[in-house]
Each structure stands twice: as structure tokens, then as C-alpha cells.
Amino acid sequence: MNKDSLSGLVLLALAGGYYWATGFIADSTLEDEVGAVGLPHALTLALVLLGLILLVRGLLAARAAAAHAATGPGAARVEDEERDARVPRALGFLAIGAAYVVLLPYLGYLVSVALLIGAVSLFEGAPRRWTVPLTAIGGALLYWAVFVKLLGVNQPAGLLFQGWLS
């Protein structure tokens, strides 16, 4: 299974999911002729067509590649493997962000941002020294000063520290 045919399948799945969700749109007598579901249906159809084209194209390319496979691995494959190895790292990076989103309402902005900066810095290979916590706390104070004090945006104070941080 190569990238194109896989993308094609994903697109088809996406179109299916979108079509399913379209079913929940209420029917209104205030509707025009096109209706609230008019564009969604057209888009579903378009995505199905594009998904099929990609799928077929991918399968054809795979067959062509299989015929050539005996001639030895191409440079493209090496590149692919290198990129695949990076995927877990990228997802790990994102997981730190997800943790931030989960913790934010509890720990509040100041603490969460400090943890976020510290965690990302370590994840990205900062030397494990006192500079990391120092930078994290300094950065958090800076952002807190800019967003909360200067811009006057109320970032969450946090359930744990309600009262004395806001």
C-alpha cells in the first residue's frame, strides 16, 4: 500500500464521516432551494471522486513499482524511512501540547506555560541544567506580563490557585 492509495482511502473515509454528520442537519421550512445540505452533498461527492482517483492512481503506481522492485531500492524509500522514524517524535511534541490543554484549567496559565516551555525545551534536547527551569519560569512570567497584564486578556487562573494569581 503506497501513500497515494492510502490517502485515497482516508479521503473516502472522511467523505463518509462528513456525509454521516450531514444527516444530523435539521430540516427547516425556512430553507432555500439549495438548502443547508446542498453544499455539503456536493462536497461529499467531490471528495469521493477525488479519493477514488487517488486510490486508483496509487494502486496503478504500486503495480508499476512492483514490476521495477527487482532493480533495487530507490533513494525515495530511504527518505521515507527517515521520515517515518520522525513521526513518533512529532506526535510526542504534540502530546506535550495536549497535556498543556488538559492541565491549563487546573494549574492556571502561569504554571502551565512554565511547564510547557520547560517540557518542550527538554524534549527538543536542551542540556539538563539549571538553565531549563530558569528559562521556563522567566518565559512564563514574560508571557503572563504580555498577555494578562499588558493586553488584559484573562488567561485561566487555574482551579488550584484561584484567588491569588489573577
Binding site: T22, E33, L39, G97, G118, S121, F123, F147, K149, Q155
Partner: protein, 498 residues
Amino acid sequence: MTTFWDIVHLLTATPIIFVAIMGLTWGILGGALPGISASITMALVLPFTYTMDPAMAIALLACVYIGAEYGGSIPAILIRTPGTNSSAATVIDGYELNRQGRAGEALGISLMSGVIGSLFGLAMLALLTEPLSWLALAFTPPSYFGLGILGLSVIASMTGGSLVKGLAAAVIGLMISTVGTDPISGVTRYTFDIPDLLNGVEPVLVMVGLFALTELMSQSGSTAVLALKDSVRIRLPNLAMMNRLKRSQTIGCILGLFEGLTPGGGGSIAAFMSYNEARRWSKTPEKFGKGSEEGVAAPEAANNTVASTALIPLLSFGIPSSNSTAVLLGGLLMHGLLPGPRLFEQNPQVIDSLYVGSFIAIIAQIGVGVVLLPAAVWLVNRPRPYRAGFIFALILSGIYTLNMATFDLGLALALGVVGYLMRIAGFPFLPMILGVVLGHMVESSYRRSLVLSGGDMMVFLQDPICVGLLLAAAGFVIFSLSRELRDARKAKLQEALG
């Protein structure tokens, strides 16, 4: 809560030059913070203008708008994150220049192009408000449909080599634009009873998710080092360079003028279209996407022009053409000023200070830019681990400002995953972003036109503006596709030869 603006509003008896520069600096700061759009930057100061002299308050808001439209390009160039919706097009070549170690040059070009765009827009506002306001009136629902299609036609030249994948990305973008309240019947679509989705998905969330998060995620795995080859010095373009940029800036100014006049745009369409047009008319179109100076100049001239020309429908009809001008309208109403034909007769001092303040701000932009930008460049060139942490924190803090909702943070992270997968599978981002930005306008104006005509499709052909725009769109698509095909054939030929 005592903030900075409490102090400022005590000082408003001071001359307009102070108000203009403060507003501009504030605008640049807000615009440069990702997620904090021009409208939010303006809304954040609005409550403090309540007690100011009306003429000063309006000048201040206009200067904030100018600063914010410019400021959006800074993170677009430096960290691949458009600070405002309209700077998404600047990301393409601006970030590419930065990767080549030419950040100082890119920032200089965007600064000067912004100043030129703003000056042109201000001149149009001051001299031609009356005639141009009638042009705004000529736009009927079918015309808006034509405009939306024209915007979407840009996709044809942004498919990144694969037409099928480009179109699929655009369709997904359009799907995202259908989330929220239906524009005609008012039923909710794809909101799953989540109130955060009632107003739809903010385009800036999609941009941040696709551009910035994807870039951070990819860099996380990569070992390549982004070295600072240049100094942090900002290089303003010299005369020879300005001469080369002349054409792209002119394109940006003209398209910006028209978008400012037509309610609903807010600068992004003009920015994308002028990028596209600048490439078409460029002597070196092959450089676009690989670090073209013109690719930065055109969209920046366009979105800065919009910051002034968007005031034309606002001042003459009281019609806000974007979220930002809606805030400005609120500012006028707060002071009991009614935008409309009589504003010019009854409150000339407000109009004067608006013009004077804007002019000062535009000129001051060069100085403020030269002072602020090196610091920004220095900041993004800190050691990579720390930089990643700070950028991530900045993005997540900024996005929260949009709706004060952690829901938006989750949505942006999810879009980051989507973007990452798209990148691996070779899907281009720009068509998706255009789909998100334009979907609402295309759908609502199409359906509105048909409601008006009772379902008769002829309504689109009876409107001359619509016909003109649709023909232009068809022309674009044919031109772009033939060029792509030619390029692809050439590439194949070379492959076969080599």
C-alpha cells in the same frame, strides 16, 4: 485591573503624534502575536478609548488597525505563523527567505511594501471616498458570488504539483467552512451541540494548525539546523530593489483597494490574489515559493492597503467590511458619532484627526519597525530547544485569546495533526486555507442570489460584475492549468533525458 491603557488614557490631552505612535506600536505588537487578530487588538483598546476625546479615540483605533495589519507579517516570516488572517500569503515566500538566512531582508521588504500600501490606501480614502463608496454599493449578492469564485480560482495555481491533491485539500477546507450556523436558514451544521462551534471554525486556527504546528512538529524530528547566516540587522530594500518590487507592489495596492471596498473580505483574498498576480506578471516567476522578494511585497502591499480602504464603506455607509472595521464602528458609536454622509459635515475634526493620525502612524512605522524588528529576529534565533518551547507557548497563548476557549486549543492541535499527515502525504496547504476563508462567502452569496431570483440561475448572468469576475476566474484557471501541465511535461522530459 490597572493596565497600560489606563495610563495612556490619562495622557490623551497630548498631541496626536503620541496617540498615533502608541496606537501603531500597540497594533504591531498585537498583530505580531499569533491568534490575536487585528480586530482583537483593536477591541482590547476600545474600552479605554471611551473616555478619550472622540477625534483622538478614532485616530488611535485607526492607527492600531494599520499597525496590526503590518504586524501580522512578522511571525509569518519568522516562525511560519501568520499573525493575522491576511498575512497567510506572506508565509509562503517570507518564511522561505528566512530559511535561507535572509530574514532581515524579508522583513525590510514587508515593512516598506506595507508603508507603500498604507500610503496608497490613505490617499484613496482621503481623496476618493465619495466616488469609491458608490462602487461598494454596486456589489449585489451575485457579484459577491463572482468574487468568491475568483478567489477560489487561485487554487488552480497553488496545487503544489498535484491537481487531485490540491482539489481534495480545497474540498476539505470548504467542508470546514460549513461548520457553524447555516447562513440562510439558521440551522446549525456539524456543531454537535458544542456552543464553541456555533460561529464556525476561525480561519486563523486552521492557518496556525497547518503552518505553525506542522512546522514545529516536523522540526522536532529533524536534525537540520536553521542557522542564522545574516546578522539581525534589518535591511530596508535599496532603490534597485524597490524598482524591482514596483510591479508587485502596484498589483497589491490595486487589489487591496478593491477588497477594502467590498464587505466580507478583510484582506486575505487580496493578499492571495496579489501573490498570484505578482507571480504571473513577474520576470522571475520561477522564484515564487522558493524565496521571492516579490512574493513578500505583493501580499503585504495588498493587506496594508485594505487597512485604509476598508474605512471607505465604513465612513460612508456605516457598513463594516470586516471584523476590524466593526470594532472601529463600535468606537464611533460609543462616542455618539454616526458614520455616514453627514459625519463628514458634522464632525470634520474627527475625519481630520483620522487622516493625520494615520499618516503619522504610517511614516512612524518605518522607524518603529527598524527599532523593533532586530529584537524579534534575535529572539527567534535562540537555541532550537528553547525556541521551540517559546513558539509553542506563544501560539497556544495567542489562540486562547480568540474565544477564551480551551476548545480552540484542542482544535488547533487536531488541525496540527491533520497538517502533519497532509505534509507526509504530499497535500498542499494553501488550497485548504482558501477553502476555509472563502467557503462561507461563496455559499451564502450563491444561495442568497438564488433566493432573490426564485431559483433562476440566470441571475448570475444578468449581473455584469458577476459575469466579469467569473470570466476572469475562468481565465485564471485555464492559464494556471496550462502552465502547470507545461511545467510537468518539461520536468518529465528532463527526467527522461537525465
